[in-house]
Every structure is written in structure tokens, then in C-alpha cells.
């Protein structure tokens, strides 16, 4: 009897957790049109870092530990994706175009170094 009640309770708890997650996704329209999910991403960017900071401050106060200064989290911003992609392609192509002459230069330097030290 107790085992049955316990298994029912477990099922209800799991069901409510899963149902809550599904409802949260539905409410925030995370799987909806692209402008809604972009707005959700902006909102998360604004809300999450201060919340993390406050939580870390609370943990420090409760435990008395000193938290080291972590570097700032990277911004998940896509305003200049096209420009950054284009500049990345340009840098890669420029590196490939100077690669043979640079390789020749470095191998010459290495050969001269070896010759000097083998005397």
C-alpha cells in the first residue's frame, strides 16, 4: 500500500516537473516564431548575469568564502554576424595567401639557426 502510494507520488512529481517545463516553453514561446525566440534570448541575456552574481554573493555571505573575480561571460550577440563572418573569411584567405612565403622565410631562418649552432 505504501509502495503504491510512493510510486504514485513519484509519478505525479515527475509529471509536474515535465509538465512545468513544457508549459514554460509554451508560455515563453521559445519554439515559436524567430522574433519571439530572439526576444527571449535578449531577456535571458539581461536577467541571467545579475541573477548569477547575486546568487554568488549570497553563497559568499552564507559560507564566508571569497569568490575570485571571474572574467566577464561572453556576449551571445548576433548583431554583426555577417560582418564578423566576412572578416573571418578575409583573414583566413589572407593567411593562406601569405602561407608559402612565410613558410619559406621560417624554414630559411630555422636552417640558418641550425647551421650556426652546428659550427
Amino acid at each position: 500500500m505504501v509502495a503504491r502510494v510512493w510510486s504514485l507520488m513519484r509519478f505525479l512529481i515527475k509529471g509536474s516537473v515535465a509538465g512545468g517545463a513544457v508549459y514554460l516553453v509554451y508560455d515563453q514561446e521559445l519554439l515559436g516564431p524567430s522574433d519571439k525566440s530572439e526576444a527571449a534570448l535578449r531577456k535571458a541575456e539581461e536577467v541571467v548575469p545579475p541573477a548569477m552574481y547575486q546568487f554568488s554573493q549570497y553563497v559568499c555571505q552564507q559560507t564566508g568564502l571569497e569568490m575570485p573575480q571571474l572574467p566577464a561571460p561572453p556576449k551571445i550577440n548576433f548583431p554583426n554576424f555577417r560582418e564578423s563572418w566576412n572578416s573571418g573569411i578575409i583573414s583566413v584567405m589572407a593567411a593562406l595567401s601569405v602561407a608559402p612565403s612565410k613558410a619559406r622565410e621560417y624554414s630559411k631562418e630555422g636552417w640558418d639557426y641550425v647551421k650556426e649552432h652546428s659550427k
Partner: protein, 76 residues
């Protein structure tokens, strides 16, 4: 379509893909932990569904640049 509009659509597509992938993965994690005994397939399925929805949104966005979105206003 102008260059800046094209760039904005790409930016929106990337942001949408990130959000939908994370959402699908998160839902997969929840269902894997609650109902499917910590198997891997709900995570893969959820991520796949999220990515597929993002791809479909992007495709619609790029293929229908002249589609106007209107609202139906009831007659008073």
C-alpha cells in the same frame, strides 16, 4: 532584399537556432531524467526537433521576403 535586411535575417536565424537548440536539448534532458531512465535518445531527439524548427523558420524567412503579416480585425 537589401544587404542590411539580409544580414538582419541571418542574425535572427542564428539567434533562433541557438534558442531552439537549447530549448530542445533542455526538454530532452527533463524527459530523459523523468520518464526515460536517463537514456540519450530524448536529448538527441529534442535537439534535432529544435534545430529542424529553426531551419524551417529560416527557410520561410528567406523564401518569402515579400510576405506581409497582417492581423484580422473584427468588424465593430
Amino acid at each position: 532584399m537589401s544587404e542590411s535586411e539580409f544580414g538582419k535575417k541571418w542574425d535572427r536565424c542564428m539567434a533562433d537556432a541557438v534558442v531552439k537548440l537549447a530549448t530542445g536539448f533542455g526538454l530532452g534532458v527533463v524527459f530523459s531524467l523523468t520518464f526515460f531512465k536517463r537514456r540519450m535518445w530524448p536529448l538527441a531527439f529534442g535537439s534535432g526537433v529544435g534545430l529542424g524548427m529553426a531551419y524551417s523558420n529560416c527557410q520561410h524567412d528567406f523564401q518569402a521576403p515579400y510576405l506581409l503579416h497582417g492581423k484580422y480585425v473584427k468588424e465593430q
